[in-house]
Structure formats: structure tokens, C-alpha cells
Symmetry: C3
Subunit: 204 residues, 3 copies
């Protein structure tokens, strides 16, 4: 039995943090007010939107209520007034960001399994949910996506996704499995940042 | 009672002007013949395509007939032979472009309200319809989207969108409301160009 | 009567070759392991995904089984260990690539006609299927899409598409028509490479 109030809380927290990440990039790129807002939306709901389009779940999830819209819009004045503090609070930020990608991974898997996709494809859709908001943010900012070179959070997502599928095989689906899988995402990500893990692809 | 022949006329005029805008960028970037055609299509039908995908209206609108395809293709020889004149006729061009974004905004709102989305989300879909053709044009040309930095037409779209929602609250939906809302878009855009309005987002 | 085992074979071969093309670009751009995998997927299934989204066929085709996923993943170690040989075997590679775009064109047309789209729009969807994987690969690598400037394979796709529509008008739909249309794609592409054909768009 899933505790949806917990899921919803982390979903909104993740959306907020992704919005902040989009706004920070937009500020750095000297985008104007609308550039900031558009990048906030693309970063925070882009991954879930692509997932929903691909699995055929439309209108896409965030459009069905106004919670996500309000969350993203709320991030704008907060970033405007607290941008210095936010830059200092990088650790708190990182925790929420990691919680966010962890949860987006699991949500993507759940939605995909529900419509009958195979676990392999569901894992991929989980990673798409978590990673493509950032990819779209970087493409719209005219950068090479960070996830292709610097960050290995795709690896953290994949580990959490596989852990979640594995746990669901050996026990009933539950919020415990979800929290364990998110813990895997957090652990791998923090370990990788601390130890500067990287997985280069050097051909001879 | 909406006058669809008027809507259809402005829709096609808007599609044509957006196609011209894509072709002009493609010429400047020295794209070849197919690059020109692809950029013409992406610019003119890109925003409506993204909106239709997100609200789940497929096959997307322009694919259901050949009017849009013919309109876009017709823009290619016209730009080829009249590119110099078109560059001189910037004012006429601007009027149509502004009519186009005005109408695309209203069309996007209408289609979204029709499938039961909230007014807030409908306003966003209106802006997506009007703005994302240009965003995709710039991304495919490897530029930072103009709407993020130089042009404030997202603001014009938003103003027109809010005017339209407001007018529909106080009176019956009608072509008058639509034309008034498009007038708001045009007025805000021309005022902003004349007075060089900008809405920077400067954090301390 | 279509021979689906032949279609499936060329589909998978095309997917494999497109994956290799994505991996090669990712290696050149020094992407890490996940960047390589994501670019392999985007290149190989991107065009078909966009087509399926636009015609409203979801979940998109490749997600319904694991064949495409396995094909793309298999390309990764092969490229890792054989990258030097692959660069030498450019001709074989080119044949498969051309077979791939030929077949992707025909598949896109078939799927579009089946849901009742007009032949003109079906031809466009055929070209989208064949060309947009490469467009997305280049956009995600922060390059101007190659098809806009250097390669005229959009022209080869268009020729094959028109040949296919024409052949189906004068005879029953068959694998012969399909193979003839793919031959047109191959012939035009090889001729264009050999003779350095280009179709510039130079306005006065």
C-alpha cells in the first residue's frame, strides 16, 4: 500500500528543486523574466512530460491540476530574493535534488509498469523522467547536457531503478521499497560526488 | 458564435508568416534546400504540435489536412524570389507575425479549455502554441531562443491570454473577445518594440 | 502481401546502424558512458518516436518489446571494442545506414497511411522517421543538424517516398514496391555522395 501523501510531498519538493535549478541556470545565462519562467518549467516538468508523451498518458500529469504550476511559479520570487542564500545552501539543495531524481525515477517506473510496459522499458522511462528535464534545460540554454559529461546521476537513477525492480520481485510493492530505492539513489549520488566517480568511455 | 472563416484566415496567415521567419533564419545560417524547408515547418507548426501532443490531441491539427503543408511550402519560393522585398517590408511582416502569435495564443487556450483543462493551464498552452515554434527554430539553429533574451512577446501573449480569459468571464465567448484579445497582443507588442521595453531578471 | 520478417530484419539493422552513428558522435564529443548510451538511443529511436507521438500511436513502437532496447545496448560494447574497424568499414556502414533510412521512410509512410493521413503528410512522416533521429543527435550534441547543411539524405528519402507512393498507385502494395523504393533511396544517396550533389538555397 503506497502512501500517496508522502509521494505527493516528494513530487512537489522535487518539482520545486528542479525549478530552482532551471532558474539558477537562466540567471547565469542572463535570460529575462520570461526566459527564467520558461526554463523553470522546462527543467521541472520536462522529464515527466516526455515520459507521459511516450507512454501515451495525456494530457500530461502536471497539467491536470495547478499544484505543479503554482510550485514552479513560487520558486521564481524565492530565487529572486534568496539567490545568494540558495547558493550557500548547496548541500540542502543537493539532498532535495537527489530526493527529486530518486522519486521521479520511481514514479516513472510505476506509471510505465501500470500501462503494461516491460520492466526494462519501465526502468528507461524512470531514467527519462528524472534526467530529461535537465537535458532539455541544457539544450534550451545552448549547452551540451551536463548528464552526458559531468554528472553521473544517470548511474544513480539506474541503480535505484534496478533496486526498486529487484525489491518488488522479492516482496510486495510498498512505500518501504520506494524509500529503499530512493536511498540507493541518494547513497550512490553522494558517494559519487564525494569520490569524484566518473564512468568515461575511452575507446582505443 | 465564432466566425471560423476569420479564425482560419488568421491561422493560415500566421502559419505563413512563421514559415517565412524560419526560412529567413535558415538563409542567414546558410542551410541547404532541405534545411530551409525543415526549419520553415518547425517554426510554423512546432508550437501547435507541442501543444497538441501535451493536451493529447493527435494526430496533431496541421496533419489532418494539407492546407498548412501547402502554406509552408508556398512560402519557400516566395522567400527565394522576394527575400529582399520581404526584408524591406518588415512592418507589414511584423503586423502579421503579431496577428499570428495573438491568434495562436487564443487557439491554444480554446483547445485546452475544450478538453477541460483549467484556465491557468490553458493560458500556458496558449503561450506554448505561440512561442515554441520560435524556440524550436532557435534550438535547431543552435542559438539560445530569442524569446529568452531579446523579445518580450511572451509578455504580449500572456497579456492577451489574460484579457481573453477575463473577457470570457464577463461576457459570452465571441469573436469580439478574440479580436479584442488579439488587439491587446498587438498593442503590447508594438508598444514594447517602440519603447524598448524589457523585463530583466537581475538578482543581487 | 508484406514480408514482415524482411521488414523486421531491416528495421533492426537500421536501428543498430543508427545507434552506432550516435555512439560514434558521443565518443568524438567525449561523452561519458551514460552520454554514449543516451545518444545511442536518441539517434536510433528518436525519429520513430517523434513520428509515433505526432500520429498518436502510443506507447511508441520500440517501447512495446525489448528488441530495440537490446539492439541499441548491444551496439555499445561492439563500438567500444571495434571502433577502429568500424571506422575503416565505412562503406558497409553506409550501406546499412542507407538501408535504414530507406526502410524508416517506408515504415513511416505505411504507419501514417494506415491511420488515414493523406499521402502528402504520410511522405512527411516518412522523412521525419528517417531524419529526426539524426537531428536530435546533433541538437543534443550542440551542433547544427547535419541534414541542414552537409548531407542531402533528406532528398534521397523524399525520392524514395515519392517512388513508393507512385508504385502503390500503379500496382498493389507489396514488398517489391518497398524494395524498389529503398533501392531509389540507396541509388540517390550513393550517386549524391559520389558526385557531391548539393542543393544550396542561395537568395540574391
Amino acid at each position: 500500500m503506497m502512501d500517496w501523501s508522502l509521494i505527493n510531498f516528494i513530487d512537489i519538493a522535487g518539482t520545486f528543486v528542479f525549478a530552482v535549478s532551471g532558474i539558477m541556470v537562466a540567471i547565469q545565462k542572463k535570460f529575462d523574466f520570461f526566459g527564467v519562467i520558461i526554463l523553470a518549467f522546462v527543467t521541472s516538468v520536462g522529464g515527466g512530460t516526455l515520459r507521459d508523451l511516450m507512454i501515451g498518458s495525456t494530457p500530461v500529469a502536471w497539467m491536470k491540476s495547478e499544484v505543479h504550476v503554482i510550485t514552479v511559479l513560487a520558486a521564481v520570487p524565492i530565487c529572486y530574493f534568496l539567490s545568494r542564500q540558495l547558493q550557500k545552501a548547496r548541500k540542502t539543495f543537493l539532498i532535495f535534488d537527489t530526493l527529486g531524481i530518486g522519486l521521479f525515477t520511481i514514479l516513472g517506473i510505476e506509471k510505465s509498469l501500470e500501462i503494461g510496459l516491460s520492466p526494462v522499458v519501465a526502468v528507461m522511462m524512470g531514467i527519462v523522467s528524472a534526467v530529461f528535464g535537465g537535458v532539455l534545460r541544457d539544450v534550451l540554454s545552448n549547452d551540451v547536457p551536463m548528464v552526458f559529461r559531468k554528472e553521473i546521476y544517470a548511474f544513480a537513477c539506474l541503480s535505484g531503478a534496478l533496486a526498486y525492480i529487484g525489491l518488488n520481485l522479492i516482496s510486495d510493492k510498498s512505500e518501504i521499497n520506494m524509500l529503499l530505492a530512493i536511498s540507493v539513489v541518494i547513497a550512490i549520488r553522494l558517494l559519487s560526488l564525494r569520490n569524484k566517480w566518473s564512468i568515461p568511455f575511452n575507446v582505443k
